[in-house]
Symmetry: C2
Subunit: 382 residues, 2 copies
């Protein structure tokens, strides 16, 4: 399959590139490398050393004998998107190419506007280019479980059958997103749904949970193939951040009570899910939504689990309840359905103490790279 | 009350300016006059001659003795928005300042991207400026009934009580918007809801139906105060467009079967509704949604009604069913609730044959201004 991976230099994108290439697909990376600039902006960095995209692809060529095309440019520039689609003629587009940090979007007005314009316009450009150039192509779009918020009823997969005053309809599931970033994904979802209905685009919206882990079979083959992993207060996410905090002797930073329950998955399952979506494409005109995660945890549960594993390793990990910088419920009902990807054959890697231990050990190995000053949350929701 | 009217030079905005000024409020207009440029772009024009904004305000000063401030600039430029709010310190902002035509947003990719960026960024800028400068100010935002689409259940006012698997919650009403323009309003609604919850902004989202009519007590006082009225395929809306078509001997252009049912209201009721919202502001942190219309009609019903009135006037009006340029259901269930504004005291002007007759007569009076070439629909949804 000819598969274009937008955002193919990022945390989810890079392992996806290698995974599809390894399995014999013809893969191209599209990226503007802006994630690396945000590190500069924030004074943060990946825990692991990461090679340049050119060196990554050269290393992969050497390791696997496989060629991956590279398109450097910005999705918000239509001429570029148009050129890439005409040249590569993708059968599937995996779209990770967005600003994906909630705290980054909440830094200030500029970052909020940037996040929404960047994400919405990039996705609109992909949709228009697909319509004109590759109308049969399948869009696999990364959304987020954070689009749903924390409703007091079960979270279904994209749609909800509503019985109301004696009538019934199946409607898009109502969204109550958590941040300016999550809002951008809700905007995308509505735009894509409209493009499917109006133009017959086929699309799968993957509402992904919080991704943890780092290593995949491909990324661990050589240091030039290593994936990035973020531990800072802006791009670092729960679990990965806790493991790194434990390794460097930093408090595990839980925001507020920690009763916030979220959906999680191992990065290896991200790859499986995207592959399952690609191999089982949506129908023409179908806007298909999968909830992409394997387990639910509260933030405090995860911190306590990391604390326990760290203590078994001889590390004293203290849990600090920070004033919550976010506006969110700290105790709430949460039950999200996630059967559609299981039905397609997903075999979950459930969270294990071994993975936590491995993450802590990786962090110990690279602890000289950790900048302790960027761990505390800076952006506030208020 | 100090009330800022964004988009105060437009079809709904201008009569709103005069209405509030007449009633003794301190009014300021914010506008970038881009609506007049779109006339140039499309080769279209208002049926009625319209004075420049400077002449409009001078005429109003002369007629009423009342002063209205003018801020010329663009909502997407934050420095401008910041300056206006600091200087004028509004207690309410009525926000009409968006690109409001569905066909315009569907002309091509450029127009779609422009519409979404313009509307979303303008509204984000207002929200951020309110938070920083006038946190107690009430945002009265014009949304549209077209955000809801045509669900097979009743359309409630903004929220829906959902019973699901033995649990219950009140959730944002699911949206299935009709066009890139309607999508921009859905994005706005989500952004505003988030700002209310996170920052305590008070906001009323007025999901307005299709507005018909032209004259208000204030706009008919002199030709320099006349309101604009659009008859072209891009900005002209059903009913107003039918009346003008009847006057100039053009077929009444019904798209497809004409079974599309929509919500409608008289422009005089727009003013009443906005006034009711302003005098009864939302609470701090409340995102309040009203469905702002008075009656539902199918497009064909309206065409037939105009045809009948035109025939009584001795005009032969033929109804032409054009191939529908839009992707929409032409027969569907439609029942939208609209009690909240009635409860606040709205006294509807229901559609009358007299109003239709008056619109046709106005169109006859200005028929030399009508450019027949711009009446047919040009933008297509497909």
């Amino acid at each position: 399959m000819r598969i274009l991976i937008a955002g193919g230099d990022g945390f989810c994108g890079w392992p996806t590139v290698l995974y599809f290439s390894q399995r014999g697909h013809e893969v191209a990376v599209l990226d503007n490398l802006v994630r690396r600039q945000w590190d500069e902006e924030l004074g943060s960095n990946s825990l692991t050393p990461i090679a340049s995209i050119e060196d990554r692809l050269a290393a992969w060529r050497e390791t696997s004998g496989k060629e991956v095309k590279l398109y450097l440019g910005d999705l918000t520039e239509y001429d570029f998107v148009d050129r890439v689609l005409r040249e590569f003629q993708p059968e599937a587009i995996v779209h990770y190419g967005e600003q994906r940090s909630a705290p980054y979007s909440m830094i200030d007005r500029n970052h909020a506007v940037f996040t929404q314009v960047n994400n919405v316009v990039g996705t609109l450009n992909i949709l228009y280019a697909m319509k004109d150039i590759v109308p049969d192509c399948h869009l696999i779009k990364l959304g987020t479980m954070g689009e749903y918020g924390t409703p007091n009823i079960d979270i279904e997969e994209g749609y909800l059958e509503v019985h109301h005053k004696g009538r019934v309809d199946v409607l898009p599931y109502p969204k109550q997103p958590f941040s300016m970033y999550h809002l951008s994904k809700v905007h995308d979802s509505h735009n894509i749904m409209f493009a499917c209905k109006s133009w017959g685009i086929r699309a799968t919206d993957l509402n992904q949970g919080v991704v943890y882990g780092l290593w995949t079979d491909e990324t661990k083959q050589s240091e030039s193939l290593y994936n990035r992993v973020d531990y800072d207060g802006v791009f670092g996410t729960a679990l990965n951040r806790f493991c790194i905090q434990a390794a460097v002797g930093h408090d595990l930073t839980v925001y507020g009570k920690g009763g916030q329950t979220r959906a999680f998955l191992d990065i290896r399952d991200t790859l499986q899910c995207v592959e399952l979506a690609a191999l089982n494409p949506a129908d023409q005109g179908e806007f298909r939504v999968f909830n992409q995660f394997t387990e639910q945890f509260s933030v405090l549960e995860l911190a306590e689990r990391v604390q326990r594993v760290a203590e078994d390793m001889g590390l004293a990990a203290n849990i600090a309840h920070l004033n919550n910088p976010r506006v969110e419920k700290e105790e709430h009902y949460y039950n999200a359905i996630h059967t559609k990807l299981m039905d397609l054959g997903l075999k979950p890697h459930l969270l294990s103490d071994e993975l936590i231990k491995d993450l802590i050990e990786t962090a110990e190995r690279y602890q000289d790279r950790v900048n302790l000053r960027v761990i505390a949350p800076t952006a506030t929701w208020r």
